[in-house]
Structures are given as structure tokens and as C-alpha cells.
């Protein structure tokens, strides 16, 4: 009964690996860009605040699948040749997820008391030094549970790279299904794989939430 899965296991798991890789890039880039976005959203300089706010509000109203398509169409024009779907997808994800991480970090930044920032400035630290050594570390620690949750969502979202033909797990499952026609087993398998990773991730997030609730240190 599980033959369809077992025979195609390396092929399917190879696709799953692609999802993981895409998620890794999306998270690394999304967190970095998201930090800049978060800082931009609390900036007092209007030429920073307004463009960043526009960017965030724009992208949060559009389906990710459309953003994936849009970059798929845009990038060949910008770069001058056809693009590897992985690269196009990675860029879409980084730009998209950065808005969500940015908003999470913004909440983290805003939870830091103004006087703490004043204390840092009063010792002569510059904005850049204060942001790097004080704002970002504290915000990351405080918002860790939310960031883990968002990372899980990002991982789930990598399945959408299906639409530009990326050889990730969902696409490979449909390919195998078109040959084997064991839909129930195959789609259950991919569902269970995602479920396990995401469930573990959500438990980790809850663990950190409990920990910070009890400690109340930061």
C-alpha cells in the first residue's frame, strides 16, 4: 500500500530538501531585511519611515503566490536572462517575509523603554551602535516565540514555489501521482511531513514563550 511512497522516497525527499533550502534562504534574508524594515518603521526620519511603511502595507495586502509570479516575470527583465526558479522564489520570499519579520521586530523595538535608549546614547553610543548592540539583541530575544511561529509559516509558504515549477516536494508529489495515481497515500505523506516539522516548531515556540513568561527577565 505504501509502495508508491517507498519507491519514490529519494525523489520526494529530495524535493523536501528543496523546501528546507528555500526556507533557509528566505529566513536568513528575511530576518536581515526584516531588521532593517523594523528599524525603518520606528524611524523618525520621514524619508525612511514613509517608503518603508508603504512597502510593508503594500506587500501585506497581496497574496504571496502573486508576488512569486511577479518576481518570476520581473527578474528576467532586470537581470537580462531567464532565471532559475529557485533564485526567483528566494528573492520573492525574502522581500515578502521581511515585511512580517519587520512588523514583529517593530513590536520588539517599541517594547524597549525610551530611557534605556537614552541611557545608551548618554554614554556616547551612536545610533548604529545602539541599534546593533542594544535594540536588535533585546528585540530578538523578546520576540523569539513570534519569530519561530513566523518561520514555520515561511516554511509552509515554500510549498507555493510549486507554481513556478520549482522541483520542491509538492510538485514532485504531483509528478509521482500522475504516474502512480496513489493520491491518498502520496498527499497524506507530504501533509504528514510538513505537519511533523511545523508541529515540532510550534512546540519549540511555545516552550520559549513559557520560559520568557516565567523568567520575565528581559
Amino acid at each position: 500500500m505504501l509502495d508508491a511512497i517507498l519507491q519514490n522516497l529519494p525523489y520526494l525527499l529530495g524535493g523536501f530538501l528543496t523546501n528546507l533550502q528555500l526556507a533557509a534562504f528566505a529566513l536568513a534574508g528575511g530576518l536581515f531585511l526584516g531588521t532593517l524594515v523594523g528599524l525603518g518603521r520606528i524611524s523618525k526620519r520621514p524619508w525612511v519611515y514613509y517608503p518603508v511603511t508603504l512597502y510593508v502595507n503594500f506587500l501585506r495586502n497581496i497574496p504571496l503566490i502573486l508576488v512569486i509570479f511577479w518576481f518570476y516575470f520581473v527578474m528576467p527583465i532586470l537581470v537580462g536572462r531567464t532565471m532559475d526558479p529557485f533564485v526567483s522564489a528566494a528573492v520573492s520570499f525574502i522581500v515578502f517575509e521581511a515585511t512580517y519579520f519587520g512588523e514583529i521586530l517593530r513590536a520588539g523595538f517599541q517594547s524597549i523603554s525610551k530611557d534605556l535608549v537614552s541611557a545608551a546614547y548618554s554614554t556616547g553610543l551612536t545610533y548604529r551602535q545602539t541599534a546593533t548592540h542594544i535594540l536588535v539583541p533585546i528585540a530578538f530575544r523578546r520576540m523569539l516565540p513570534s519569530m519561530i511561529t513566523q518561520s514555520i509559516i515561511t516554511f509552509q509558504d515554500t510549498s507555493l514555489a510549486y507554481v513556478i515549477g520549482l522541483q520542491e516536494m509538492v510538485r514532485r508529489t504531483t509528478i509521482v501521482d500522475s504516474i502512480e495515481v496513489r493520491s491518498v497515500q502520496l498527499y497524506s505523506f507530504v501533509a504528514i511531513l510538513f505537519f511533523i516539522i511545523c508541529f515540532i516548531g510550534s512546540r519549540i515556540s511555545m516552550h520559549y514563550e513559557e520560559k520568557s513568561r516565567k523568567a520575565k527577565v528581559l
Partner: protein
Amino acid sequence: MLAYKFDWGVLWRQPYGEWLLQGLWLTIQLGALAWIIALSLGVLFGTMRSVRFWPLRIIGSLYVEVFRNIPFLVQLFFWFYAGPMLFGKTLQFKINAISGLNYWVAIFALGLYTASRVAEHVRAGFASIGHGQYDAVLSTGMTPLQMYWYVMIPHALRLIIPPLTTEFLTIFKNSAVAMTIGVAETTFMSYKIDEQTFHGLEATTGAMVIYLVLGMTVVKLMDFIEARFRIPGLMSR
């Protein structure tokens, strides 16, 4: 930079402009109908997660965990490709022959998925109402079922209008995924325009504008509902 001639006229040239608008109509249908399922099931499972009777709590939690931790695309494919097979060999072919099956499966899957998120908001709403009201209502002799139906659920729903607005917006965004099973909604149409004209960039940009406008309309609608059903003295804007 590749030499690319922009052709923004594609957006309102027939039949392409009309395709996008037809797609919008379908997006609205998908979102609205799925939302009805999502609200009903979400309230049901959210309530189940909050009652004292633990078997119901377990069922509710199971539902939420399963539907929250699997990507929507995977759920959609499961129901569309594997779903008919669950009915056995004879029924399976009859089901697959239904015209517009993808439309109904999309609404069903979207509703089921979103319900798990609504359930969490409902649970949070109950948690914030607090124990006192629970005890007060029960002491007037109502059964728990009556209490939930007449008091707790209406109260919680008003409290959670902001997160529900986010979910309502999200349901329209997720409706775009239905394009993968051939539902002719907005995103599908923009892709189709690209297939015909090779001007996918303009088409998808146009689709983005459509989603933006739709989103703003939804927010205005929910603002209106919130104002209409506001609980005086409970929260200020």
C-alpha cells in the same frame, strides 16, 4: 536589462481587462463563501477548545493543530486529488465528473483551513472574557450550551473583530492558491493573460492593484461592522 516593451494597455484591452474583472468576481465568491464555512466551523471548534469537558477540548485541539501545521496548498491538493478517492472506486469517478468541482473543493478547503485560525481567535476571545461572566451566566440557570450560544459567543465575536478582519483579508489572499487547481480567479487570470500576451508583468501588477483595492474595501466593511456592533464602554478606538 532585457529589452522589454511595456504594454500597460493590456490591462483594459478586451478581452484581457474583462478577464481580470471576472477573476475578481470569482475571488470575491471564493472568499465570501469560504468565510461562512470558516466562521461557523471556527466558532464551533474554538468553543470546543474552551469548554470544561475535556474530550471536546481534545477534538478541538486536534483539528486546529492538524489544519494549522499543513500548508494550504497541500491541503487543497489533498482534497482535490485524493479527496474523491476516499469515497471508493465507483463514487470517485462520479465526483470527478462534476463540472466546477475545483470551485467547490477550493471553497471547502479554504473554509476548513481558515476555520482553524478563526478557532484560535475565538479561543483567545473567550479567554479574555474571563471567568466571572461564565459563572454569572451559569448561576442564572442556563445550560452551558445556552450560555455559549446566547452570551459568550456573541460577546467573544465582538471582542475579536480586529483579528477576524486580518483573517478575512487573509482568506482573500489565500483564495489565489485555488488557481493551482484551475479556478479562474484573479491570479489565474493574470497568469492566463501572460500566456496569451507575454505581458505577465503588467497583468500581475494589475492583479496586485485589484487585491489592494479589495483589501481596503474589506477593512472598511469590517470597520463598519465593528462600529455597528460595538460594546459600549468596553474598548475605545
